[in-house]
Symmetry: C2
Subunit: 470 residues, 2 copies
Amino acid sequence: MGLQIHRTVEHRPESRIDEAMGVLKQRFGDRLSTSESVREQHGKGEDHHPVVPPDGVFFAESTEEVAEAVKICAEYKMPVIPFGTGTSLEGHVAALHGGLTIDLTRMDAVLEVNAEDLDCRVQPGVTRKQLNEYLRDTGLFFPIDPGADASIGGMTATRASGTNAVRYGTMRENVLGLTVVTADGRIVKTAQRARKSSAGYDLTRLFVGSEGTLGVITEITLRLYGIPESIVSALCAYPSLEAAVNTVIETIQLGVPVSRIEIADEVQMKATNDYSGTDLPVAPMLWFEFHGTEAGTTEQAEMVKAISDEWGGGDFQWTASAEERAKLWQARHDAAYAAKNIRKGAEVWATDVCVPISRLAECIVETQNDIRENNLIAPIVGHVGDGNFHLVLIADQDDADEMARANAVNERLVHRAIAMEGTCTGEHGIGMGKMDFLIAEHGEAVSLMRLIKKALDPENIMNPGKILRV
Amino acid sequence: MGLQIHRTVEHRPESRIDEAMGVLKQRFGDRLSTSESVREQHGKGEDHHPVVPPDGVFFAESTEEVAEAVKICAEYKMPVIPFGTGTSLEGHVAALHGGLTIDLTRMDAVLEVNAEDLDCRVQPGVTRKQLNEYLRDTGLFFPIDPGADASIGGMTATRASGTNAVRYGTMRENVLGLTVVTADGRIVKTAQRARKSSAGYDLTRLFVGSEGTLGVITEITLRLYGIPESIVSALCAYPSLEAAVNTVIETIQLGVPVSRIEIADEVQMKATNDYSGTDLPVAPMLWFEFHGTEAGTTEQAEMVKAISDEWGGGDFQWTASAEERAKLWQARHDAAYAAKNIRKGAEVWATDVCVPISRLAECIVETQNDIRENNLIAPIVGHVGDGNFHLVLIADQDDADEMARANAVNERLVHRAIAMEGTCTGEHGIGMGKMDFLIAEHGEAVSLMRLIKKALDPENIMNPGKILRV
């Protein structure tokens, strides 16, 4: 953790990067940057991995320019790394073999909004907040909220989700189609704008979650939703994690169309009180949000309150006022800052597993014990309606023993989740950090992924060293 | 249309089918059938394509047996065609290059139901009705309903959907994971049981809709849903197609979580009255279904009634009684029989396009005109909430001129849908019938599909001649 800079990049012998850089420079001039600060800024996400800067950063302004740049890179076998807001968490943007980072933040136009069809088409550099700001007057919104104000391109590439996924799904369900630049620089549209289709292989879903290893995403068509007439939020403390999780299971099984259910454990709640000066119970806590008509959200809140009471949930405060809702969610949104605040100056390491909800309480409790036994600090938060949770591991990078214990806790967490039929990553992706875990989770299936990678990127120039070893 | 039997199958020179058949016979004995009637029965779906029987039909009883059979076929380069209930509509099961049809109907076990996690794992031969029968005591159900009592394996392979997709999604959204036998006979699991994952390429979605061309699906993990407390249905006639479609658009845009919205045009309604002896208005008609709490479904029905009134909708009958609901839906379920009844003995040809909903009225009206101008009979029904509709083309196979006109109408329909940013197939798939339309729709993207096909099935033994020419 901390800012290690790996200045010596492991260049591949076949890469003719200097020649490629010359051609790119001639073509793109000042929009190809080789400044040290720009390169370093593009060599790392918001993660615990080291900085590995690329040879150059190209600020692209159109799909055609991306295609042109990729064609040049392909000719000289120079790696290509797509870059959005740099908020990824598993070393996705590290230029492990050098190469060209294509910064897509200047491609930030909302290209069309089809209000009647509840969809829109955007460039990859549009962020989710920017999109929702743009949509405000239409009465529509885009619900996927991974926390960070990430770019839609990056969210697509990592198959992001977050707090609203329990109702609205993840990027997997909400991307209708893509324009991608392939590894040989072709421009390909993966789907038309129909809501559903049985026309051939699902290329859209193949590129969603491909983390830049199959091509560069340059346009995204998204599903939109009407802004609900009524939004009601609630916050409730539980006597135990099991009680909180059982409340969630019953809520979902009863078909209450809850939009958000978030969990935090007592360690997180203490950190939150310390950080925010709040006086919330230091106990497992659930946040709920209900979207619908006024009658509908009232009914949903009442149903969940009844379930919550059964499981010994405390005072079930619910509110439809926008101001009070914002206050209520603040504690959840501040979770990461609160965690960082536990030990000032320490970097944090966000883990990310997802298990079937029936195994969630068991998985969290075993993990809490492991954290305690290893004398670590790691508050837990999660998108509990989907069975997805994160440890915020706080460890000092200069303390080799603490780092080793943190590593071991994460490794056991992942294997625990896999043993419970869960996944090594619910929403952060594989990047460079979880390639061994991908193999542990998928086994033989990884060989099919490798065949696909080799078919679509035979020279392995697209974000090499991520997801798969080829 | 009708039962043309292509007895001379176009065998590929490299296939050593006789040798393979000998080895298969020795291994599987009586469960490898070469009887003419069994082979013919497996050479055609419920479509307008000719019968092309395979060389043999193997009734598999386990994933391991499927793997063994595929390994033998791979060794002798013998084509493999997976077969469920035979209800496909685009020639998916025709043995165009001979080969072995693997009948999966004996693999019809529900392997596990995880009620707390709202999921289950089934073998591919389980039909949707059989699954829902099995689930009845759990309070859960599987919503995808393509009309036919298709097998879950076949529904997965064609990315099926049907009447409930507007609320619950298609097979794309409802398959959590698969076990597949690859073209070289390996057994691969595509995903764990977590609700969401960002772990590598989305192999699950790649096999959903692959129509047996990438492997044989031998287990499917599905999402389930709680049976709603209240189900309310309604039926309403409209002064025009545009009025009906505008009612739908506004309903969806308002976020009313309607479960089904089905349309039929006046031609279909006349056929329905003639067939069922009903006295329904001969006008564009919408069926609605609402799922939720009692208060919720009442509210939904009232909201839709208000919208419907605005667009001149007629008497908006709605009912929560199971018996009356069944009666009300009967007319919709009988649509195909009613269409067949228009000209007795004629085969029918179900077309299938899907467009953005804002273009739906225009697409249907232009198509109605085309049908009329070409002096054809083709009632229209559709899953209008998704923009998906079908003509039920009625043409006499022995009348070359009528067949040519029917073909031309279908071709224009597909190109009309594509021009409106729609798809050549919303739910039936490509099979052998729409390969040119796939190219018209996807263009350059088809070359990526071809690369994937070649990577996963280099000898082209998996259902050759479907989806793609390789």
